[in-house]
């Protein structure tokens, strides 16, 4: 099923994500990160929380998780994340493309701190397999 291309530009309500020490430590341990600071790719956790809450739940978009593969990922960091801060994650559908039976959806998620400064920009492209 082709994704609804008219949704490009749609921005979802931001979600709040507190960076809890225990969760950061669990993440750091499993990826082999050394030190007590926040691993840069912990940005995935708030990015994904926003994506799961909003994008996958969007019936208008019709994204079926069982058909989704992660194709491409980019992070741009303005500064490191810090334990104890609360980040807001706001996702926008940046692009939807169809290539044969496959669709690609690109999501841009802005992670901002309490002062509304952008800390990380996450760009994720998902490949959605079509019907065989």
């Amino acid at each position: 099923m082709a994704l609804n291309g008219r949704l490009v530009g749609k921005t979802y309500p931001p979600i709040a994500f507190p960076l809890e020490a225990e969760r950061v430590a669990q993440f750091a341990a499993v990826i082999g990160h050394e030190g007590d600071d926040v691993p840069p790719t912990f940005a995935t956790a708030p990015e994904l929380a926003a994506g799961l809450r909003n994008v996958l739940a969007d019936d208008e978009l019709g994204l079926d998780l069982s058909r989704v593969l992660h194709a491409d990922q980019e992070y741009e960091w303005g500064r490191p994340l810090t334990i104890g801060e609360t980040i807001t994650a706001e996702t926008t559908i940046a692009d939807i493309r169809t290539k044969g039976a496959m669709s690609f959806v690109t999501l841009r998620t802005d992670l901002r701190d309490v002062a509304r400064r952008t800390v990380v920009v996450a760009t994720s492209t998902l490949l959605v397999r079509g019907d065989a």
């Binding site: 669990q26 499993v30 990160h33 790719t41 956790a45 989704v68 992660h70 491409d72 960091w77």
Partner: protein, 140 residues
């Protein structure tokens, strides 16, 4: 402490970093990241998608790569950009190896650009779950 501009030269290779990706790691990563896609947790779901068994999250492989870059660069604040394409799956039990090479040093801005990758040996061949990734580094 972040590596100094004067210590970084075009052609420098990052020390490779190996990790065996266990099924338990994949489960633990699913919990820590919040990505509970059954492709990573349930063999039947992975088989339905055409894989022989559960696959690691692409983001797990990317995180391992980021760990190797941060170890080389000396500090988390050094990594300002990382872009990758996921080109091949990683199966539970396999060993991933992160590597990279300095392809540009911007001495005036005290930044460097790296070509980065992750390999896995499978059936006598080297596969690239990540190939031609790009990392931007802020040097001291």
């Amino acid at each position: 402490m972040t590596i100094a501009t004067e210590q970084v030269h075009v052609g420098d290779e990052l020390p490779t970093l190996e990790r065996v990706v266990t099924r338990e790691d994949v489960k633990e990563y699913a919990d820590a990241s919040g990505d509970q896609n059954p492709l990573h947790l349930n063999d039947a779901a992975a088989k339905a998608a055409g894989f022989p068994g559960v696959i690691a999250h692409g983001m797990y492989t990317m995180s391992h790569l980021a760990t190797s870059i941060v170890r080389w660069a000396g500090d988390v604040s050094a990594l300002t950009r990382l872009r990758v394409q996921f080109r091949a799956p990683v199966f539970a039990g396999e060993t991933i190896v992160a590597g990279g090479k300095v392809i540009d040093v911007q001495t005036d801005r005290r930044t460097a650009t790296l070509d980065v990758w992750v390999t896995v040996e499978r059936d006598g061949k080297t596969e690239y779950p990540i190939r031609r990734g790009v990392a931007e580094i802020r040097l001291a």
